[in-house]
Symmetry: C2
Subunit: 770 residues, 2 copies
């Protein structure tokens, strides 16, 4: 059982390896260390939301302005800075281009695979409708679905578990400043892309939009670093950008480009990145993000227009095409606004129900379905059930619709209908979800009867709940929109029944749109960016106000019951996620209560052995160490003179930048900023660095490498004030000093994320090794 | 000459008054003070951009977390904070509502007044076309224009000079954190609204959109404070929000609501506020801003729909109605993109020309046209000239167009045309600029001949250059769009001449739109928000990518020559404006070089006389004072223990919160946070506070009122790092300490704004009293 929580967590690999590496550093207390390791192994802690994992590290948005850095910056001319800025724009353009191409690939692959599948099944159904024996068709359909999903689930479960799901929670965490292991690696991207193709082609109740956001982020992280550690290939480009600060900026651009490609919503993409990530708003950065978004949606449109043999027609939107809402036919009136608000509330309630069901399911999965093969089997089961439910719905539906002259249906199923007619339920089920949404928005009144819609809503709702959280790469946007569009259209039809003047409520498509917004808002609880995304995806700004109202209502109502889906999954992973502000009632707390203390400090000139011992101590596993003038006694605070990071010390140890006791200064090897950048971001573990007994007696001069001006706060600073400084500057370590500038504590992300507002006021989360 | 610079500057009033108040505080060195005042009077410094005015104070976005504040926050329950949050939403709703109503008022008033004017002139022209003697019509037109403009100019020049212009530079400064005197007062709003009605009705080459942004900001500042100091009315509401932090947030919402009402662009409004103002991005704040924007555009649409007798039709856009661009007719192709980029470059060049001409004109105005009556006369002259030019253009134009069956022209002028035809030039000139833009966008091909457009572009360009900067309340958006639309349409027509297949370039309206974007971008140099504003105003997202490309090209090309129009005017006012980042080559500088030193500090328990003397010293005029443990000697730094503001000291002095030497502690009057809020924002000058000779001997205990945890940086911190902290947190004072936590300097906005990147690298601006 001890292993359970590890298997399903986002970061189940990697950590183990480092720990298993034998200690090479000749530390005398290696035996003790080993005990520490054992002690620090995950204990049996039941998964719940009141924990904060110690496993996640923070990104460092604050440059370590040490001497090396300052020297480099000072050497650089104005022209140099201009070149850097141009390079940033070029990278953003590349990010947009590649993200757009990936979106193209996914779109074309899904369309072709799904086309093949539906063609085969349709042929089969048509053959057996006359002969009898439709159960064979069902089996064919179920087997095809399961086969696709099996491939998708296997690559995710066995090769890269972090590629599961939509990736939006992980990207949210990354942009928030949490280092989620392996989230922006090339392997993750490959698994993600092929996984999502398989799961959508496999007919699951999933969308391909969420994964696009993750894909964009990975592309950005890769391109901006100019190398791939997985492929062991270094292009020697963009070396200046090899640090968290720059990388995180590019990842925001990548996420925005992903949204832009997915929904054809460049502005929505920018707002998504800002809503989720940026705490420090910078105009130039925002422009670059916008540029990446624009290039991405342009690339997608350009290549898709060629694919669809209408080259050069660039006006089509992104992956999901809601179709244009014509402004004249869908005007709204003042008296419809209360109806919209009611729909918003309904969306909030249904969304909360979705989230609660999915929460329980996720807990169940964490407990019992943690082996990869079980996970693959579950995914295949869901695929088969989805096919069966769909088949049953189509089979038992007796509603027939005349086949239009313009053949708007891609795969019309005649089944038991008369010639020239097709089965109405098949429009919704025998189709990719994107097409179903579009037909719910745009099909003329009378296409669906209320019964069909009601049953469809219920069935699809349950399927979608079951599907989200499977070990496949898939998003929740489209299923949510589909559920909402179905009950929204139902709502519109019912309205036209209960009122006399039918002309006013003539267009159920309008209510389908509002319903879709309400349901999606109720599940994911985004407002600003989602409003813009939906407005851009429908290509019509008229609906801005009602969509905003609906999303806000859905959020307020939903928040009353339970958090948003992404936040639930983030909490289940115990990620130290920082919200926008400290809890309002936290003025009682000061830095003194919040900080970690005592702090492990180093002297400006420190013994190598001490450093190795401190770094090897896995029970503390600190990442930042204040440098002080002179440590006299263990508990006596000394004056702060800098801050040095574990990663910097590792590089120093690796390059053996030691000063021998006797002949100081001149024997020290000159280290460049390049050495630090080359090691970024996968700094070797301390255990892999060999330090001999003699070397342990040497000294290390940290003056040149430490950040001499770390941000500090006095002990009496209130938590909201500490929080504001920490969040606004994207810090990783904040030193707490007394009024003599002596180090008394250190505030890190976990110290701040610990406090949150529960039902009964301020609560404190527990730290755990999960 | 000494007075010149004062008359035309944004803040010409008010300052004088305080200084002329006789000193009542019984300071012994009042004579010396008086000399100081004389010495600090504005010297004869020629206006140029290399100065930084000492006149502008900073807003304080950082809460002073003193004991009173913390006690209040700690007393407040969770429910209390929730109520506050709801109140904020309510206020944002109110801001949106009122801004929308003001936009309505302006729109309806302008439409009616302009309608009356054009009706009268049209009648007159028609009468005299047959009889001969059209010069009488010209005189009538010119006199009507001048009359309107006279009224508008008089109220601005004599009552509230800060209401001149579009108000966008002022709002930019305010959101940047500069306290521009009187910019958000009720009187300013009234003058602005009536001024803009007069100047648009007066036929000047101006728009009513810029002033809406200013109006929204004033509304926000007023509503959020729950009182009007001008009207001496305190509603005792929203007292919690009476501080810079909260007020500035609301002003961002107001500015966004203004943009939203002006252009029907709620998202554009949010982005405008963020692009110009927010450095610290907060999700909740952004949602509120978005809400205000949405309510504002909704209100406007709602009331205008009633006014236009189509109640309930809420789909129309804002004040300016670009008309819907139909997606099918205006698709673009890949090969058009280079053309768009060329147009962008052209827009950049023309915009730079506009800005340079306007810069020289502004310098001329600063030198010679600084008296209110001269300003009024200039405005009237421009109005008359505008009428004359328009008349001449119409008169000499021989182009006639058939009158369409649907009468799209509001005031078709037949003049010398045959029956059933109208003068084409009159569409552009005999019309409000908004209507002219719309007809340039949407009139079918062939409506204008190239000659007409060319002459119109030239004439209107010169008129617009002359008009911007007049002492009337007016915006530059619409004239820019109009110029751009004219040459854009011309460009489109020429394209269809030089190519054989005319069908591709069939729609010159598309090029009019691109030209409008290019010209506006070349003048104001906004990119992100402007893209979104234009996309929202046209109601079509298809054009997002080309508009963005064009705006970026225009910005890059324009920036090569000269800055944007708003930035030029901000620089001419020598405002200490902080950009997004420190100049890239400023890593050489550290806090030590940047800071002001020595700093005037106070003891924790300080003699009243000392405080009064320091505050009365107009030669230094400090606003923030570090509080230290014990000042021993004048130049010996002491340990920092807090920061106290001039405004706080003033309130303390006013309430005589003194401790008598003998009986300390119990005689001290208990002061509430309310006392500080009541005095906000117009704290009385020190000269109006009477302190007797006895009281001067008393002591003041600052412990309770000072901020005990001000942000500090060490002396070695690099300028970019200081800048980042300062900007991200919106600080007003940043204390520089040595490694013993002793105060060595103070960094304020002016210390940072001083450094900017000139042609030859880093330059330092001079401080001046202008």
């Amino acid at each position: 059982m001890a292993n359970i929580s590890k298997k399903v967590s986002w970061s189940s690999r990697g950590d183990d390896r480092g720990e298993r590496t034998p200690l090479l550093n000749g530390a005398e207390d290696s035996k003790l260390n080993r005990q520490d390791i054992i002690r620090s192994r995950p204990k049996e802690i039941p998964h719940n939301e009141k924990l904060l994992s110690l496993k996640y590290e923070s990104l460092d948005y604050d440059n370590s302005e040490n001497q090396l850095f300052l020297e480099e910056e000072r050497r650089m001319s104005q022209m140099g800075f201009r070149c850097l800025e141009i390079t940033r724009w070029v990278i953003c353009g590349l990010i947009g281009l590649l993200t757009g191409l990936i979106a193209c690939l996914i779109d074309i692959a899904v369309e072709n695979l799904a086309g093949l599948k539906y063609f085969a099944v349709k042929q089969n159904i048509e053959k057996f409708t006359e002969l009898g024996g439709l159960s064979l068709s069902l089996i064919l359909w179920a087997v095809l679905n399961s086969a696709f999903v099996m491939v998708g689930a296997i690559i995710v479960a066995f090769f890269e578990p972090i590629a599961a799901g939509s990736g939006i929670p992980q990207i949210k965490c990354y942009l928030n400043g949490v280092k989620v292991p392996r989230v922006v690696r090339l392997k993750t991207l490959v698994v993600k892309v092929f996984g999502v193709i398989c799961s959508v082609a496999g007919g699951l109740a999933v969308g391909k939009e969420g994964p696009m956001i993750h894909s964009g982020a990975v592309v950005a992280a890769g391109v901006s670093q100019g190398r791939s550690t997985s492929l062991k290939k270094d292009f020697k480009m963009f070396e200046y950008f090899r640090r968290d600060t720059e990388k995180r900026d590019f990842v925001s651009a990548g996420a925005a480009a992903g949204v832009s490609a997915a929904f054809g919503a460049p502005v929505g993409g920018v707002l998504f990145s800002l809503e989720e990530g940026a705490s420090f708003w910078n105009q130039l950065l925002t422009w670059r993000i916008f540029f990446a978004s624009m290039v991405s949606s342009f690339t997608l449109n350009f290549f898709l227009s060629i694919y669809h043999q209408k080259p050069g027609e660039l006006s089509s939107p992104g992956l999901i095409n809601f179709g244009r809402f014509d402004s004249d036919s869908v005007q709204y009136n003042l008296y419809e606004i209360p109806l919209f608000i009611i729909m918003g509330a309904l969306g909030g309630i249904l969304g909360a129900l979705f989230n609660v069901l999915n929460y329980w399911l996720t807990i169940f999965r964490i407990r019992y379905i943690h082996r990869p093969c079980l996970q693959v089997m579950e995914a295949m089961l869901v695929a088969a059930v989805t096919a069966t439910v769909s088949f049953a719905m189509i089979y038992f539906s007796t509603e027939c619709q005349p086949l239009g002259p313009d053949h708007t249906e891609e795969y019309p199923l005649q089944l038991f209908c008369a010639d020239g007619e097709y089965n109405a339920m098949a429009t919704a089920f025998f189709n990719t979800p994107e097409r179903s949404v579009r037909s719910l928005f745009h099909n003329p009144p009378g296409t669906y009867n209320p019964m069909t819609l009601g049953v469809f809503t219920l069935a699809y709702f349950l399927l979608a709940v079951w599907t989200y959280g499977l070990t496949v790469s898939a998003g929740v946007f489209i299923p949510s929109l589909l559920i909402g569009a179905a009950w929204g259209r139902l709502f519109g039809i019912l309205l036209s029944f209960i009122t006399t003047s039918k002309s006013i409520w003539a267009d159920p498509g309008k209510y389908a749109l509002i319903g879709a917004a309400a349901q999606l808002g109720g599940i994911v609880r985004m407002t600003l960016s989602l409003t813009v995304i939906l407005v851009e995806a429908t290509g019509n700004v008229t609906y801005g106000f009602p969509i905003m109202l609906v999303l806000m209502t859905a959020k307020i109502v939903g928040d009353y019951f339970v958090e948003g889906l992404y936040d639930i999954h983030i909490k289940l992973q115990s990620v130290p996620f920082l919200h926008w502000e400290a809890p309002p009632t936290s003025h009682w707390l000061t830095a003194r209560e919040v900080m970690s203390s005592p702090v492990t400090c180093f002297n400006r000139i420190e013994k190598v052995g001490t450093i190795v011992d401190v770094l090897s101590n896995t029970s503390t596993n600190h990442n930042g160490f204040p440098v002080v003038t002179h440590v006299t006694e263990i508990d006596e605070p000394s004056k702060l003179c800098g801050l040095v990071l574990r990663s910097q010390l590792i590089v120093l140890l690796k390059h053996k930048v030691f000063v021998e006791r006797a002949s100081s200064r001149f024997s020290q090897r000159k280290l460049q900023l390049k050495d630090f950048r080359d090691a970024y971001p996968r700094f070797p573990p301390i255990q892999s660095i060999h330090v001999s007994q003699d070397e342990r007696e040497c000294m290390m001069d940290l003056t040149e490498f430490m950040n001499p001006t770390p941000y500090t706060v006095p002990q009496e600073t209130s938590l909201p004030r500490v929080f504001k400084l920490f969040r606004a500057l994207g810090l990783r370590h904040l030193v707490v000093v007394d009024n003599e500038n002596r180090v008394v504590g250190l505030v890190t992300r976990k110290d701040l994320a610990r406090y949150h507002l529960g039902k009964d006021g301020l609560e404190e989360l527990h730290l755990a090794q999960t």
